[in-house]
């Protein structure tokens, strides 16, 4: 029964949601909408679980003075401090002059942008140290990279209008063909996995580990 009941629930819910996607009749649509609303509520509740888990793990590591424990302190101070300040400001927490907005702009926004901006430095360094043209395929990749990097910015057009035109052709023909193939392949894979789940042939979600097929 421990195996059959989850499989039955998956079968019924999976088939119903599949039908609900294509059939707009109110008899189906109302329940379909309710199910989606339940899932949204459950997803919201997982955030609470996530925070609880974060606290549990990090507090444990802090008390055990585990490796890098000072970083855990920073994490928890940030989490608890931001939450407390947000709550203390009530409905005004979104005002442009609120302390919550100040934290968002000063810490979160700046640090997130910095992390992403670092990519420019590492890409430049990697381009010098790691991009080696050792084969014909690597040569093709290098030529495509040159055309795209120069053709995608205004300086490409200033050098010669053929460069952005070549960049567009690369994106719209070979890239697009490859991307379309990947998308169709991935979509077919998703359909196959969905069918296996609905028919109970795939039970890894039930905690049976990899290869949990019947």
């Amino acid at each position: 029964m421990k195996r059959q009941i989850p499989t039955l629930i998956t079968l019924v819910a999976g088939l119903f949601c599949l039908i609900g996607f294509f059939v707009p009749h109110p008899a189906i649509r109302t329940l379909y909408d309710d199910i989606q609303q339940w899932v949204i509520v459950i997803v919201g509740a997982t955030y609470v679980l996530g925070v609880a888990n974060l606290l549990r793990i990090n507090l444990g590591q802090m008390s055990a003075r585990a490796r890098d424990w000072p970083f855990k302190v920073v994490l928890l101070v940030g989490l608890i401090g931001t939450t407390a300040i947000g709550f203390s400001e009530g409905t005004h927490y979104l005002d442009p002059t609120s302390r919550f907005t100040w934290i968002y702009n000063t810490f979160y926004s700046s640090m997130s942008s910095t992390m992403f901006s670092l990519l420019a430095f590492f890409i430049a360094s990697a381009a010098f140290r790691a991009f080696r043209i050792r084969s014909f395929e690597a040569l093709l990749l290098a030529i495509a990279a040159f055309i795209l990097m120069i053709g995608r910015v205004p300086i490409g057009n200033a050098i010669h209008p053929a460069i952005p035109a070549a960049a567009d052709w690369l994106m719209e023909v070979p890239q697009n063909a490859a991307k379309r193939g990947i998308l169709i392949g991935a979509a077919l894979g998703v359909v196959a996995t969905g069918i296996r789940l609905i028919l109970g042939m795939e039970r890894t979600y039930g905690g049976r580990g990899a290869g949990g097929t019947s």
Partner: protein, 277 residues
């Protein structure tokens, strides 16, 4: 091959970092204006789709990104809001990224101040809702049920701009500004293919190739790719701003990276030859 080239391999990477920093900071600070920005057909598609929206109608503007991609997404988000408000189109903003709503707030407030628009009457920010594709799907049935209150906690039935807005049938266009998942791809799959709502998108440069198939099929009417796409759009709306200012820095950084690939390979060749000798 000269020994100078093979010795390039020993180049301290901090010099590369310094060069990148200077190539980015100097053009941003000085504004050297290397080359004019020429709009691509993809950007024109984005612009034309917004131009076709009748004045007085309401558009859904999804800002699905957070501060990590603000350099690319924020300029196009702001330009889109300015374009819509300049045409007296009302905006319903939302975000499916938890860190996104404050950026939507900033964009809408800034554009509204420029065009004399009022919150609640001309625009609203519905804020963030967890659930990704489910939120998109649920909005197809009822937007007030999916977002019963706006970001400030005001019930949507008390917000004038939300009056008469029930689902996607009430919008002539969906504008998606997106950094990844959930974003443009999911809006196409959940909304465009199901409700046939016209859609345009502004995305990060690294994710732009993902959306070319949707552009080719007409599921996307236009596409802004990265900061360059944002700059092209700013040219079309005749309001050069953040993205246009960043183009010189990006141009020089791209040329520098291309040069680094070339130099790295020349150094590799030099070393290879001296080893053979």
């Amino acid at each position: 091959m000269s020994p100078g080239l093979s010795s390039l391999k020993q180049l301290d990477r901090r010099w590369i970092f310094l060069a990148v920093a200077l190539l980015v900071v100097i053009p941003l600070a000085v504004g050297i204006h290397i080359a004019p920005v020429a709009p691509s057909p993809r950007t024109r598609g984005f612009y034309d789709a917004i131009e076709k929206v009748p004045s007085g109608s309401t558009v859904l503007l999804a800002g699905d990104y957070d501060p990590s991609t603000v350099a690319e997404n924020y300029p196009m988000h702001l330009a889109a809001a300015r374009h819509l408000m300049s045409r007296d189109v009302k905006i319903i903003g939302l975000a499916l990224y938890p860190g996104g709503p404050p950026l939507t707030d900033q964009v809408l407030r800034l554009a509204a101040a420029e065009y004399g628009k009022k919150e609640g009457i001309d625009y609203v920010n519905l804020g963030y809702k967890a659930g990704n594709e489910l939120v998109m799907s649920q909005m197809g049935s009822s937007i007030p049920r999916t977002f019963p209150v706006d970001r400030r906690g005001v019930p949507v039935d008390q917000i004038p701009v939300m009056h008469g807005v029930q689902n996607y049938a009430n919008f002539p266009l969906l504008v998606s500004i997106s950094a990844g998942y959930p974003g443009t791809k999911e809006w196409v799959q959940q909304v465009v293919s199901r409700y046939h709502l016209p859609m345009v998108a502004g995305v990060t440069a690294v994710s732009a190739p993902e959306y070319y198939p949707y552009l080719q099929t007409g599921q996307l009417r236009g596409l802004l790719g990265g900061m360059a796409g944002g700059a092209e759009y700013e040219v079309l709306v005749k309001h050069p701003a953040l993205a246009t200012r960043g183009m010189d820095a990006q141009s020089l950084a791209h040329v520098f990276i291309a040069l680094m690939i070339l130099l790295g390979n020349l150094a590799f060749l030099g070393e290879d030859r001296s080893r053979r000798r």
